[in-house]
């Protein structure tokens, strides 16, 4: 059963990343590639701070702040520099590679001998022995729920509504006498803050920072968002944020199946095929779309 636990653990960690991608891709309608840089940014910040003796729980907040800063930069490049959305993300992603190397000091920082949010005296004292094997999962679940609930609440505030309006109807925002550029920057910073925090949690769970860990992060994030939202589109019981988290777990399950049952070289192909099957079967009938057009 250990195997299932891993899928859910990893799915939930990447789920926080997917929540960030959900804000940019679904809510803001902004294809943000900063993610490939901000995910390892959170991990780099965490590695640098933990090895210098900072409380691991605090690193979560600091990495969120670092990611938010990266998001603000992407937003400024796009809004103030009038650079296309896709390109702004690419520019930041590229720059962050070097920034991450500077922050971490090297491309690989092991954290085996350090305290992490999962391994410290407080955790050992608090969790009863019988639950020990699940302590990682429980903590991740708690963190994910905090992120999800806060995000849900935020999206219901005035500022949250504006965020959604920018994605749906930019004219409305201007009509409300609000600057849509600022709203975009806010959304990007929130999204990348979440992504960086996911990076921080991932680095602490794997007990290592590795510069290449962000490569392809945006792909995983997008896949999770799309799987989640299209599978649960009609089930209004689930909030979009819940759907995204489940989507992320399903993505990790696809990888797990490919790993388990097929030869190594076929892994990516099988993952892609599984992904495609889910998408095709969860899609609306094409007839419906045509009527609108």
């Amino acid at each position: 059963m250990n195997f299932m636990v891993t899928i859910i653990e990893q799915g939930l960690i990447y789920g926080i990343l997917a929540l960030g991608v959900y804000i940019t891709y679904k809510v803001l309608d902004f294809p943000d590639l900063t993610v490939d840089g901000s995910f390892p940014l959170g991990a780099a910040v965490t590695a640098a701070l933990i090895t210098r003796g900072m409380n691991p729980y605090l690193t979560l907040l600091v990495s969120f702040a670092s990611g938010a800063l990266a998001g603000i930069c992407t937003g400024l490049i796009h809004v103030k520099g009038k650079v296309r959305d896709l390109l702004s993300g690419i520019i930041m992603m590229t720059a962050l590679w070097s920034v991450n190397l500077y922050i971490a000091g090297t491309s690989n920082v092991p954290l085996f001998s350090q305290k992490t949010i999962f391994k410290n005296k407080l955790m050992d004292g608090m969790v009863p022995k019988s639950l020990r094997p699940y302590s990682t999962l429980i903590l991740i679940l708690v963190l994910v729920m905090i992120c999800k609930v806060l995000l849900d609440l935020y999206l219901k505030t005035k500022s949250g509504y504006l965020l959604r309006a920018v994605g749906d109807n930019e004219a409305l925002v201007t009509a409300l006498a609000k600057d849509q550029g600022n709203v975009k920057i806010l959304g990007l910073s929130l999204a990348n803050g979440l992504v960086a925090m996911a990076g921080s949690i991932f680095a602490q769970e794997e007990r290592v920072f590795e510069i290449s860990m962000g490569t392809g992060a945006i792909v995983i994030g997008l896949a999770s968002v799309i799987i989640g939202t299209s599978l649960f589109r009609k089930m209004t019981v689930f909030k979009a944020t819940t759907a995204v988290l489940i989507g992320s777990i399903i993505y990790k399950a696809c990888v797990a199946i490919a790993l388990k049952n097929f030869e190594p070289n076929a892994m990516k192909l099988i993952t892609a095929v599984l992904f495609l099957i889910i998408l095709i079967f969860s899609m609306e009938r094409k007839g419906g779309a045509k009527k609108h057009a």
Binding site: M4, Q10, E205, M213, I257
Partner: protein, 339 residues
């Protein structure tokens, strides 16, 4: 709506597939008696040298009487250079209850040790350049837990000495490396430290991706008398580009292992990854047989680097290989193999 139901069913089917996968493997385990072993091999990426390591490990085990198909079951997984996948592989090995995890390359070793340490499954690694830096061994080379293996640290001193012997008048050695590869960065540091002893200066060019290589090569070739390679994955994968450009300018390129010399590097004092793997396989056999615990063994390095030379390349470049050196070559190649 129908489609949605189908999608749900499919998801359910996938879950079952996963569960049966689990059940199947634990079933296999029960059948195997005490004299047979299961090893999970976790390789970080698809790469020639790393494949050679894996081949070597199996050879090493075989020489100790542990033969795949007879008393050994191998479960081989490749993480395709993704940390998340590496984590999933490590976890699946632990939940399958393998007798040992054999990890190839640093990130795989770290990921395997991260989960295996709680499950008390020994980890044997190979192709980890600096186990101390990776926190898999303490400063004295002792294992930090049930984890040990072999390092593919380059014999840099021997390499510099060899270059000096082949090119008595050279002054500057160019090295290209990927800034994201910790192994390369630490090797560069050592090159810089030792170069002075042989009256060389090191010119380094850091790159971030394969796409940077043609430009970086051109720049480097304008500044140096020769180039030497590390075991840098990105650079070695594009060796053909570098060799072609260097060949046009008649600038010698030195390799760091046998495969590179085969492909057209002038010479190398390097490691043979198959024999490194063999050495690792023998260590693994000791642990499996219960002769020694992984925690009782220091990590090992290849003590005697081998000299490899390509006489065809030497002829093309007009470089004279001293008789004495040529005689000691572990292997000489007389042609440039295309691949």
């Amino acid at each position: 709506m129908k489609r949605r139901v189908t999608a749900g069913l499919l998801t359910a089917a996938m879950m079952t597939m996963m569960l049966t996968g689990c059940a199947g493997s634990s079933g296999d385990k029960k059948e195997s008696g005490k004299e047979s072993y299961t090893i999970g091999i976790e390789q970080f990426a698809e790469h020639g040298s790393l494949d050679n390591c894996r081949e070597g490990v199996l050879k090493g085990l075989e020489s100790e009487g542990i033969v795949e198909g007879e008393n050994l079951t191998i479960d081989y997984k490749n993480a395709a250079a993704d940390m998340g996948t590496a984590g999933q592989i490590s976890d699946s090995f632990v939940s399958d209850g393998v007798d040992m995890i054999c990890a190839i390359a640093t990130p795989a070793a770290q990921s395997a040790y991260n989960v295996a340490m709680d499950a008390e499954i020994p980890v044997i690694y190979t192709a980890v350049t600096d186990p101390v830096e990776a926190e898999l061994a303490d400063a004295d080379g002792n294992a930090v837990g049930e984890v040990t293996g072999t390092s593919d640290k380059l014999p840099i001193k021997a390499q510099l000495e060899m270059i000096r012997n082949l090119l008595p008048n050279a002054k500057k050695i160019g090295i290209m490396y990927t800034t994201s590869e910790a192994n390369s960065v630490s090797a560069i540091e050592e090159y810089k430290k030792l170069a002075g002893d042989y009256e060389f200066a090191i010119v380094e060019k850091g790159i971030t991706a394969t796409a940077d290589i043609p430009l970086a090569t051109d720049e480097l070739l304008g500044e140096v008398d020769c180039i030497t390679n590390l075991t840098d994955n990105t650079v070695v994968s594009s060796l053909a580009t570098i060799l072609e450009k260097a060949g046009e300018k008649k600038i010698p390129v030195f390799g760091s292992e046998i495969e590179q010399v085969k492909l057209g590097c002038l010479a190398a004092e390097g490691i043979d990854y198959i024999s490194l793997g063999e050495q690792t396989g023998k260590m693994a056999a000791k642990v499996l047989k219960g002769e020694k615990k992984a925690s009782e063994m220091k990590y090992e390095i290849i003590t005697e680097p081998g000299f490899y030379v390509n006489t065809k390349v030497a002829e093309n470049l007009g470089v004279e290989v001293p008789e004495e050196l040529a005689k000691n070559a572990v292997e000489s190649f007389h042609e440039i193999s295309a691949e």
